[in-house]
């Protein structure tokens, strides 16, 4: 028999909504990074205005998921999916917020003396976008390998972020008048680094969704932290 129950159709709709939300977030990151590089204030304002839609989608998806949890008592993979869906949609919403933060940097920098964005910042923009795409592909395909790849790539982003910090501090130490621009670029780099963190979080949810194993916070316990 190949009938799909009403409940599983609703689950599928949640997935479709999540993908639509993810599409908006991907576009928002893309536009925000472009606006920063092109010093395009109109584009930046578009990103800020567009975030409202992402926020509303988060509410809509959460409401749907709660209704399904309350009425359908899902178990096993359905339960893991719905629990992951709530978390993924919250991560997506925060990615959208990071795009808004980036757009804010554009608005400030565009009114200042032009500065070439550091090469590493452009690379970070590329990588953050790519990680966003990949974690969502992993989610759509239930692909654990892809998800683990995203988690690994987050280290590259963290490295780039650190280098930019050093580069900017050095630049600001050399030329005091660039301090404000330097700080803005450090912030931009930090926002992109956060996008990568959220992509990593989504990838971890994918691993949980597929394998039923929680892999975050699996670091070695230290004296200061200790076991639970």
């Amino acid at each position: 028999m190949n009938t799909i129950s009403h409940f599983h159709r609703q689950i599928r709709e949640v997935k479709e909504d999540l993908l639509m939300m993810a599409g908006l977030v991907e576009e928002s990151i893309h536009e925000a990074v472009d606006s920063l590089i092109a010093r395009d204030k109109a584009q930046a304002r578009g990103v800020i205005e567009g975030d409202r839609r992402i926020d509303l989608m988060q509410n809509q998806i959460e409401e749907r998921v709660f209704a399904l949890l309350a009425t359908q008592q899902p178990v096993a993979s359905d339960l893991r999916f719905l629990s992951a869906a709530i978390k993924i949609c919250s991560h997506l919403e925060r990615m959208g917020d990071q795009s808004v933060n980036l757009a804010d940097r554009t608005l400030v920098l565009a009114d200042m003396e032009p500065v070439d964005p550091p090469r590493r910042l452009v690379a970070m923009g590329e990588l953050a976008r790519e990680m966003t795409c990949l974690c969502l592909d992993a989610f759509v395909q239930n692909n654990v390998d892809l998800a683990k790849n995203v988690i690994k790539r987050d280290d590259e982003l963290d490295d780039l972020n650190l280098h930019i910090l050093e580069e900017m501090v050095e630049w600001m130490t050399r030329e005091q008048r660039v301090t404000r621009r330097g700080v803005e670029l450090i912030l931009a780099s930090r926002h992109l680094e956060r996008v990568g963190d959220e992509a990593t979080n989504i990838a971890e949810e994918v691993v949980f969704l597929v394998e039923g194993e929680i892999i975050r916070h699996k670091g070695v316990a230290t004296d200061s932290v200790g076991p639970l």
């Binding site: 028999m1 599983h8 178990v75 096993a76 993979s77 359905d78 339960l79 893991r80 194993e213």
Partner: protein
């Protein structure tokens, strides 16, 4: 606390036949004492048949045949030396529909102990009270013990049947869909009771209600087409079952 769980039932390579039809195939299972084990699976999967094998209720059906072992502690229930009446004293059963005798509440509970030995009135009173208390029914019936059990509500009748089973001081209580005829409130009371009962008894429950299995049991066993597909801690079965068939069944994707 941290008591090592003791095995109370061990089933080894159990096959069961109704005439030529094989209803159970190669069942291996271990049941720990003072735990609630839920048996789930679609209709006709063999779970109720399996439950009835644990106190030799299927003996009453002509043309049936058992192969393999059901060990209660170390005694094989199907050893020809073993008296089925003795088995049923150690392994009590509660059925789907409450089936009190058309007698007083008191006499429903006193019936078994009376049958099994001469007891003085004081001792019998004590057993009746303790059993009804253990079934969480005492406060509701203590003043009407000599009224007919048939005047009780369905939920109360079912708890009375549990008291009646407990009065025989069994080690194991088998329950065959004990709440399927009850409303949600009576169901919730029985479920609470099951969790209490495991302090003193080992409970094995067949249920069609998967949420009920998830709520009340420590271990869940999934049966399909006469085989035990998977058994494990209930939390694991309902969050990340190991077998695809279990996953398909509990998420309702089964044909």
């Amino acid at each position: 606390m941290n008591q090592k769980m003791k095995k109370i039932i061990t089933v080894e390579e159990l096959d069961f036949f109704y005439e030529d039809f094989q209803a159970l195939t190669g069942i291996n299972m271990e049941v720990e004492s003072n735990r609630v084990t839920a048996l789930i699976g679609p209709s006709g999967c063999g779970k109720s048949t399996f439950l009835r094998l644990l106190n030799r209720m299927n003996d009453l059906i002509p043309g049936t045949r058992v192969q393999g072992k059901v060990l209660l502690d170390d005694i094989d229930l199907y050893d020809p030396q073993v008296d089925p009446v003795d088995v049923r004293r150690r392994v009590g059963m509660v059925f789907q529909k409450p089936n009190p005798f058309p007698k007083s509440i008191y006499n429903n509970v006193a019936y078994g102990p009376r049958l099994h030995g001469k007891l003085d009135r004081g001792r019998l009173d004590r057993i009746v009270e303790e059993s009804i208390r253990a079934a969480a029914l005492w406060d509701e019936v203590k003043d009407i013990l000599h009224q007919s059990a048939l005047g009780l509500s369905g939920g109360q009748q079912q708890r009375l049947c549990i008291a009646r089973a407990i009065a025989m001081q069994p080690e194991i209580l088998l329950m065959d869909e004990p709440t399927s005829a009850l409303d949600p409130i009576a169901t919730a009371r029985i479920e609470e009771l099951i969790k209490e009962l495991k302090k003193n008894y080992t409970v094995i429950i067949v249920t069609h209600n998967m949420q009920q299995a998830a709520r009340v049991s420590d271990q869940t066993a999934f049966f399909y087409m006469g085989r035990l597909v998977e058994m494990g801690p209930t939390e694991e079965i309902f969050t990340r079952p190991k077998k695809d068939q279990t996953e398909q069944y509990i998420t309702g994707r089964f044909g």
